[in-house]
Structures are given as structure tokens and as C-alpha cells.
Amino acid sequence: MKLFEYEAKNLLASHGIPTPKGELASSPSQARETAAKLKPPYAVKAQVLVAGRGKAGGILFAGSAEETEKAAEKILSMQIKGIPVRSVWVEEKINVKNELYFGVTTDRFSQSYVAVASASGGMDIEEVAEKHPEKIVKTIVNPLYGLRPFQARQIARKIGYSGSQLSELGRIFEKLYTLGMECDSELIEMNPIVETVDGSFMAADARIIVDDNALFRHQEYKKRLWEGNSELSQQELEAMKSGLAYVKLDGDIGVVGNGAGLVMATLDTIQYYGGKPANFLDVGGGAASETIAVALRIVLSDPDVKTLFINILGGITRCDEVAHGILEAKNKVDIAKPIVIRLVGTNEQEGKRILTEAGIHVLESMEEAAQKAVQTSKQGGK
């Protein structure tokens, strides 16, 4: 789950990391009042969870409180990638000398956190890593000891600092690591952390992604997520609340399956035969009939879906439960669209019998079923 910039900056500030002075505003007049309390010039930044707000015009600068109000008015009336802007962050603009990068994320191979730093901040760090790998400094962190002060100082040295600046930067790196551990971040970064003209350091932008699986330890974020104020679409949220994983795609074949790998392979197989999947939906292991019904409702609520493809390989999931779920959904939701079903595994015969008696044809091979689904969608779902 992504945190808003204002949430991230408030967390950084509360952990003693210097950030530009600023406040959140949800109306143009509030933005003006905020600016009046700060020193000009100002930066007015849209608080949205999608990337690329700068390019979309979601960051403006202002020289006075009045200009701040106008900038806020403009940004608050915008939609960025389809998301309406609900609030802006108004802050003092800083005098930048150098833009640096520092972040902490996970490294799969070393099964650890990794601190990533670069003297080339302010741009996409993945792009820097790809084009100039020599400009990236990576330090694997042993979780049993954390990011040690000496490691933080070594990182500061490697990106070009010495003396008191090295010490100051090192302390900021340590604090960010500590904050990341406290809020269970899978990514925490300052991009950029800037060296100002007077030689001190400040986190000009901050990004935190909290591990969804750790939300039980962070009820305040879980509450915001469940209220629908997050990067998830309404369907994605509804799926999550029912223990399902749903991702909207841009095709016309609705897909429901069990197991992330199998569903991904199902989408790939549809694509292989020239079709386009409308979504990813994994009902998970041991899905009960009610869960299957919820899954079908979510997928069928998408107007782009012309054909429904259900691919279940029963392990923990029992085929008879799935069959009941399909019939249940059929009773509750009007499934006017053609369904292609592939159902094999535990209690397969019983599942097939239930569906066949209800007039639904069941296939055994995933490839055959995918071809059938593609063919049906190309006939316009008839």
C-alpha cells in the first residue's frame, strides 16, 4: 500500500529527518492560509498515488500566498491519470545544490533489505541503475544488526561526501532505515534528498510503500485502505476484502482461476491463441462456493467482458464446491455471457456432474478451453 507524500514527509519529520516546512490543504483558500505561515517561494504538489504527477502538471511553484491559492485551485480541479486530486501539499521551495538518492528495499537473492544510494538523484532510479550502474551504491543489511552507523557513513563517502556532511548524511540514512522498519515498508526512499546551497541536507520528496501483509500491525493504514482511499480500484478492493486477487486488464475475456501461477499462465495461453484477457482473478486455495460467486460477480461487473473463462485445477479447492459456486452465482447474477469452464482435480467427477446437469459443458484441457474462449470472444461473445 502506497502512502501519500504528505504522510511520508510527516513520518520523516517525526523521525528527525529534515524536510521542507509544509502543510496539507484541501481547498485553495486553505492553501493560501498555509502559504501565509511559510516563507516564499512555495511548491504546491498534488497528493495522488499515481506516478508521473509532475509531467501531468500536478506540481506548480508560486511566489506569493495569492499565487499559491491559484496554483492550488488549478491542481485541485485536475484529474491525474483519471484520479481526481483531493488535496495539495504546500511547502517552502528549497535552494537545491545537488540531488541525491537514498532508499531501502528488499533484495531477493540475499534474503535481506538493501540500502540503495546514488549521487544522481531526482530521476527514476531504475533508469540510473540501467544506464549508469556505476552510479549506484548498494549495501546489503543484515536484519540481525540493522543498518550500522559505519555502513551509513561508508555510503555517504561513496556518493561523494566527507567530514561533517558525511556524518550528517549518515545519520539521515540510519533514521530512514529505522523508520522503514517501524512502518514495515517494502520500499522507503528519498528521491531526491537534496544538498541545499548552505550545505545541509533535506528530503525533498519521499515515497513509502507499506507491505500489505503487515497491515495488521498498522491499523491506521488498513482503515484508509478499506475505506477505499488507496491506489486500488473499487473492484480490486472488493476482491481484496473477499480474499481474492483481481487485476483489471484491457481485453475482453474475463478470467477466474485458482492459484496465481495458473491464472497467469491462463492469461498467457489466451494471448498465445490470439485472444486478450480482461482481467486476472485468483480465487486462492480452498475457495468455497460463496467466494467463487463473489469472483464471478466482480469479473462480470466489467462491461468489457464478452466471454467468461473459468480455469480450476482442484488441489485444496474442490471441484464440487466450485460447481456449486458457479450455479449459485448464476442464480444471483444474470450471466448472459457465454462461459467456458475447465475443471479438473479433487472431486472432479462430482463437479462435472453438477454442471452438466445444469446444462454447462465442462472441458478438461486448459489449452482446448483457452482456444474455445478465444474463439467465443471473437464471435462477439455469442
Binding site: R108, F109, N213, V247, G259, G261, A265, T269, Y272, G315
Partner: protein
């Protein structure tokens, strides 16, 4: 033969009184796995399918000296269960539980490296050496004993491919799920090394998916070592958009890192035959 587990493995089930633990303890027993004890704090002194239940792993170990554990404990408590197993001398820990926080997984793996314990998972279907031992939740009837080793990041996709192999008369030495999370115990390279030494394994199937770079590292390893056994692969997620988590916590393309194309290219360059569809795996193995 096979890797990690065999007919002599003595296992405990942590979280044996929960729905999943109870259900799969029974299936593992029926498969012939030596489940010597179960644990569930507060339920000590009871029995599940004739298996004695203890409050602590310590007590279970005093009476049964197991060498493996399979964990069904809910996510908030699963890391503690893994520590409990390792601190009490268990050397193979299989974590079935999904949704364990990354931080917890990282801490578990750090301790496992210190103790030299083998961790499989989290978020894994487990491991099966067909007709000898099953420590997992996979449907057993789709596997048969043979000479192909399987390593996978997915559950049901592994079943799909294993069922296809069995249908074509190709048996398996050991099938192991690494787990669908970003941080897992074993990785592809660790497991390739084990299959290299295992005399009963003649070929290896590697089933990867989008996210991370462990498939690319495995490809480098295969090329560097001129891996002595044929490797066939399947990578799921060719059609996955960037930035979206595809069901598994670990299945996410970040920027340009973790795409199916990158993995397929790396494996192909290492001489690995990569199947376009799951059903082609058996054909590639027979065609070699």
C-alpha cells in the same frame, strides 16, 4: 533418493489443530509421511488423527526428535513458529502460510542462515518426493515416482505441469515449491545444486514467474557451471502489466525488472528450453 526429504524424514505439524493443519496432516499421514507429532499452544495433550499434540515444539522434540516441520500457523504468528522450530533443532522448515510480512520472513531467513537450517517457503505448496514422503498441500495422485526434478514459484501451476508429466508417463524425483513471496528460503540456484548431486534426478524443470531476478541468476548459474543435467523451463506472466501484483506478493514487474521476457531470454541464452505453454513441458522433455 530425491532431495531434502525421503521416507526416513520425521516431521511435526505446527498449527495441527487449525482447519488446514488438521486436513493436511491427515492427507500426509495417508501418503505415508512420518508425522510424529503436532503442536498447538494450549491444545497440548490432545490428539489429531492419532497424532499426539503438544503445546511447544520443545516438548514434541524431547519425545519424538523430529528433523522437519511443516507450518500452518496464521501469518501474524508464523515467523515465531519458524523460530521455534529452528531453535529446537529442526533443520528443515516448510512454511505453507501465505501473507507473512516481508520483515518477518527476512528475520527468519537470517536466523536460518546462521543455524544452517533449510527453509522452504513461505507461501509454498511444500515438497513431495513421490511415493516416499509429502510435506505439503499438493494433491498427491497427480505425482508419480521418477527421474525429473521440479522447482517452482507457484502451486497450482506446478500441479498442472506435474499432472501433464504423469499423464505422459514421466515420473518425478522431487517436486518443490519455492513459494510465491518476494523473500523465500530456498531459491532456484540452491535447489539446482541439490538436484545436480541427486543421482535419481536426470532432468530438471524450472517453473518461474514475473518479479525479481532469481530466474536470471539461475540462468547465469546454469551457463557458468555448464549444468550437467538438461533443464526445461516455463515462465508465467508474459501478459502481465508492469506495477501490478499478480496474486503472489512476489509476482510484480517493477519498472523493467522482473519481466517474463527478461527471464525467458536469459534462460534461452543459457541453453534452457523454455516452453510457450504449460502443456509443452512434457513434449520438450520427451523431445530431447
Amino acid at each position: 533418493m530425491g532431495i531434502i526429504i525421503d521416507k526416513n524424514t520425521r516431521a511435526i505439524v505446527q498449527g495441527i489443530t487449525g482447519t488446514q493443519g488438521n486436513f493436511h496432516a491427515k492427507l500426509m499421514l495417508e501418503y505415508g509421511t512420518k508425522i510424529v507429532a503436532g503442536t498447538s499452544p494450549g491444545k497440548g495433550g490432545t490428539q489429531v488423527h492419532g497424532i499426539p499434540v503438544y503445546d511447544t515444539v520443545e516438548e514434541a522434540q524431547e519425545k519424538h526428535s523430529a528433523n522437519a516441520s511443516i507450518i500452518f500457523v496464521p501469518a501474524p504468528f508464523a515467523a515465531d513458529a519458524a523460530f521455534e522450530a529452528m531453535e529446537n533443532g529442526i533443520t528443515t522448515v516448510i512454511i505453507i502460510t501465505e501473507h507473512i510480512p516481508i520483515k518477518d520472513a527476512i528475520n527468519v531467513m537470517a536466523r536460518a542462515r546462521q543455524l544452517g537450517a533449510t527453509v522452504i517457503g513461505p507461501n509454498t505448496p511444500g515438497i513431495i518426493t513421490p511415493e516416499q514422503c509429502k510435506l505439503g498441500i499438493m494433491p498427491s495422485h497427480i505425482f508419480k515416482s521418477g527421474t525429473v526434478g521440479m522447482i517452482s514459484r507457484s502451486g497450482t501451476l506446478t500441479y498442472e505441469i506435474a499432472a501433464g508429466l504423469t499423464r505422459n508417463g514421466i515420473g518425478q524425483s522431487t517436486c518443490l515449491g519455492l513459494g510465491g513471496d518476494p523473500i523465500t528460503g530456498l531459491n532456484f540456484i540452491d535447489t539446482l545444486k541439490m538436484f545436480e548431486k541427486d543421482t535419481s534426478t536426470q532432468a530438471v524443470i524450472l517453473i518461474g514467474e514475473i518479479g525479481g531476478n532469481l530466474e536470471e541468476l539461475a540462468a547465469q548459474y546454469i551457463a557458468r557451471q555448464t549444468y550437467p543435467k538438461p533443464v526445461v523451463a516455463f515462465i508465467a506472466g508474459r501478459s502481465a502489466p508492469p506495477g501490478k501484483r499478480m496474486g503472489h506478493a512476489g509476482a510484480i514487474v517493477m519498472g523493467k525488472v522482473g519481466t517474463a521476457e527478461s527471464k525467458i531470454q536469459a534462460l534461452t541464452e543459457a541453453g534452457v528450453k523454455v516452453a510457450e505453454k504449460p502443456g509443452d513441458i512434457a513434449k520438450l522433455l520427451m523431445g530431447r
